[in-house]
């Protein structure tokens, strides 16, 4: 069968749809005068904010996400800086999702601009999967006036790498039989979880391509990276069985903020934490969640970033004690003696609140 030859057979068909320069593209879509111009969404260049998204015109100047806005302004003085309009992006993202759900119920949002779709069973060949992806791209273009890149493969790993390689506005499908050849020529950092640290470690060993990584004996990977070594080994062989989870459970809730000037005193740090805490509490109450682990994140003025956390024996609900625990965590930082540029607070190991009612103690 022709479809069997180049199709998926018993393999899964996963699509990864990734919007091109999403925030910037939404701005350009909403304001036609910005089209064709370098646009950056994020912090103002005179502030200490960073680039949240850069249009392809801006990228030509070497501007990329997470770069300090001030540097982006130096690279391209004519770039237009725009503030983030989160509600708008959330709105467009919801419309995208409605399109995806026409094709499969198995849609896993990764971010506002990024999604996995499992179309296994909906299509019977690679060509059919490509047709679905092309149709989705077409609808995004005509209904939303935006462009997306699509990757297709037998796993989330391959779909994601493929969409990244087809950017912008592209479509790349990797048949199961070609997975190894596809991966082998790529640099190791294309794999999930291989960042500067692991990547640097491997590169010092002379391992640059996934083909070279694949030839490393498993024992060597495990002795060097522990349990994580198995995962690297699996990924290098293109083996990734992680499912597309339609209701991705939120694993943590956190709030953080970068400050326009460094916080130098403990009092200022406490003041600055207050609105973050209030926001976090509100969210937890709304979602009726309790947590087991509480953490804070502190980035000092030299960009060293630390986190401190506390885990309780039982899940706890938000309440006044949240503050006292955060203060205790703060005691374990250098707040007050070192300048702080970013503060974050969050909770993980979330559980639904018990339906048990509380005694109505009067507020003190």
């Amino acid at each position: 069968m022709a479809s069997e030859q180049q199709g998926f057979g018993s393999e899964r068909s996963i699509l990864h749809i990734d919007m091109d320069a999403f925030f910037a593209a939404v701005e350009q879509r909403d304001r036609p005068e910005l089209r064709g111009r370098p646009v950056v969404v994020g912090g103002r260049p005179e502030s200490r904010g960073v680039v949240a998204a850069a249009s392809y015109e801006a990228r030509r100047f070497g501007i990329y996400s997470a770069m300090p806005s001030a540097r982006a302004a130096r690279l391209c003085p004519s770039v237009v800086f725009l503030p983030l309009r989160m509600e708008r992006y959330v709105e467009i993202s919801a419309r995208l999702r409605r399109i995806f759900l026409c094709y499969t119920p198995l849609v896993e949002p990764v971010a506002l601009d990024e999604c996995y779709l499992d179309v296994t069973g909906q299509v019977d060949s690679l060509t059919a999967a490509q047709a679905v992806a092309a149709e989705i791209k077409g609808r995004i273009r005509t209904e939303l006036n935006l462009t997306a890149s699509a990757g297709i493969g037998p796993s989330k790993l391959i779909a994601k790498i493929a969409s990244g390689m087809s950017k912008p506005d592209g479509l790349l499908a990797v048949p199961p039989k070609k997975v190894q050849a596809f991966l082998d020529v790529l640099p190791i950092r294309k794999l999930w979880g291989i960042g500067p640290k692991t990547g640097g470690n491997l590169e010092r060993l002379g391992i640059k391509s996934i083909a070279e990584l694949r030839q490393l004996p498993l024992t060597q990977l495990v002795s060097r990276f522990g349990k994580y070594g198995y995962r690297i080994h699996e990924l290098a062989h293109g083996r990734d069985s992680s499912p597309v989870r339609p209701h991705r459970e939120r694993k943590q809730i956190s709030r953080e903020r970068t400050f326009p000037t460094d916080l130098l005193s403990r009092e200022l740090v406490q003041l600055a934490l207050e609105p973050l805490l209030r926001d976090l509490e509100k969210k937890l109450r709304q979602r009726r969640l309790q947590f087991r682990t509480l953490f804070i994140k502190v980035r000092y003025s030299d960009f060293t970033t630390i986190t401190r956390s506390i885990t309780f024996q039982e899940a706890v609900e938000v309440g006044s004690f949240l503050r006292s625990q955060v203060m205790k965590l703060l005691d374990r930082t250098e707040a007050g003696t070192r300048g702080i540029r970013l503060l974050g607070v969050g909770v993980t190991e979330l559980e639904n609140c018990r339906p048990q009612l509380d005694l109505p103690f009067p507020a003190t």
Binding site: E314, R354, P355, Q356, L357, D358, L359, P360, F361, T364
Partner: protein, 382 residues
């Protein structure tokens, strides 16, 4: 340091103080017991960062001295030793030799000066250099068997989670002739009031003390049934209890106890009397099908009966009726069955009274004959 001590006496005191030893091991030195031989006694001490305990036993002291040794090891060795005198010796390097019958142990100890300073637990009058008394030792006296039963009926309610001081402590209200204890974990509350003739106090005093220390106090009283009263005195942030030769010290918890009187229901208008044992048995059976996490069961007060039901989506359902004398109005409430069972075990009377107002307000459980002990419980959402 060298002494001989009766194995049973030694084991008793070690068993008592070793439970204080910090299991979380925040300071390695605190996993040890502090032993001091003086006069004709061996004095043992253990502490963690919140509680300290001291106990003594008679010993034939050959050479006085101090040392420290692993609490867990010493305890497990003593448990296995034959019922014979134990010879205990610590050398200059804190190597400890322990012999009993034909068994010999050599244990690596730590010097006593490496042990953190103990909180002030001295009792007796404090005198100045001239011998004049500058602080008179005037402890409060609390009748020990009454205190024991009061602790037993309250401590279990306090939360084991130490994040919220008020919910992890036992709140003491001392007035002349009366002692009250209150505990709550935010969902339920226990309040007990008992006459205490021995208690003489000028003005009302309140203290919030750690749950763990109170559980230890309960245990100490339990092992010293001969003692009539517990002495209690406050020294700044420390509260010290003394029973015979055992001393327990704990620090006051920071934080205010909530206004508990506000949550004790006063106008619960639907009340029934029921056999405590019949209700307990029925709840134990019905709750076998309760959800592991929430333990919810439904209690319906219907004409002439209590109907207990438990529906579990995965397992099925259970129901049981208890005949009572009740004319209404009817009400249905959902409870955490574990909470109700704990209260039913801590009540003592044959007949108890249950009272309710609405399915989302606090209910009250008490012994029919005992107005001094109240168990308050919030229901679950239906």
């Amino acid at each position: 340091m060298e002494l001989t001590v009766d194995r049973a006496n030694f084991l008793n005191v070690v068993s008592l103080v070793q439970s204080i030893v910090d299991r979380r091991n925040t300071m390695p030195a605190l996993t040890n017991l502090h032993l001091e031989a003086m006069g004709d006694e061996l004095c043992l001490r253990a502490m963690d960062l919140q509680i300290a305990m001291e106990a003594r036993c008679p010993a034939k002291v050959v050479t006085p001295g101090k040392t420290t040794v692993s609490a867990r090891k010493l305890f497990s060795i003593l448990k296995e030793l034959p019922v014979l005198p134990v010879a205990f010796r610590a050398d200059q390097e804190d190597w400890i030799s322990l012999s009993c019958g034909n068994a010999d142990f050599k244990l690596a100890g730590l010097p006593a000066d490496r042990y953190p300073a103990f909180p002030e637990m001295d009792y007796g009058d404090v005198a100045n250099a001239e011998g004049a008394v500058v602080r008179e030792y005037k402890p409060l006296r609390i009748e020990s068997s009454t205190l024991h039963s009061m602790l037993k009926k309250t401590v279990f309610v306090a939360s084991k989670e130490e994040g919220r001081a008020a919910f992890s402590g036992v709140y003491w209200i001392l007035t002349s002739g009366t002692l009250q204890l209150v505990t709550t974990d935010g969902h339920r509350l226990a309040h007990i009031r008992r006459p205490m003739e021995s208690l003489e106090i000028a003005e009302k005093q309140t203290l919030l003390l750690p749950r763990r220390a109170m559980a230890e106090l309960e245990r100490i009283i339990d092992t010293h049934k001969d003692a009539k009263s517990v002495e209690m005195f406050q020294n700044g942030q420390q509260v010290v209890f003394r029973l015979n030769s055992v001393v327990l010290s704990c620090s006051l918890l920071e934080g205010r106890f909530p206004n508990y009187e506000m949550v004790i229901p006063k106008d619960n208008d639907k009340s029934v009397q029921v056999s405590r044992d019949a209700l307990r048995q029925a709840i134990r059976r019905t709750s076998l099908l309760a959800d592991d996490q929430f333990r919810g069961i439904q209690l319906a007060l219907l004409k002439d009966k209590i109907l207990l039901t438990c529906r579990n989506k995965e397992l099925g359902h259970a129901r049981e009726e208890i005949a009572i004398n009740f004319q209404g109005p009817e009400i249905e409430v959902v409870f955490n069955s574990s909470y109700v069972l704990e209260f039913l075990s801590s009540l003592e009377g044959e007949e108890i009274e249950l009272s309710f107002k609405t399915p989302t307000s606090a209910s009250l459980l008490k012994d029919l004959e005992d107005d001094g002990y109240q168990c308050i419980l919030m229901p679950m959402k239906i």
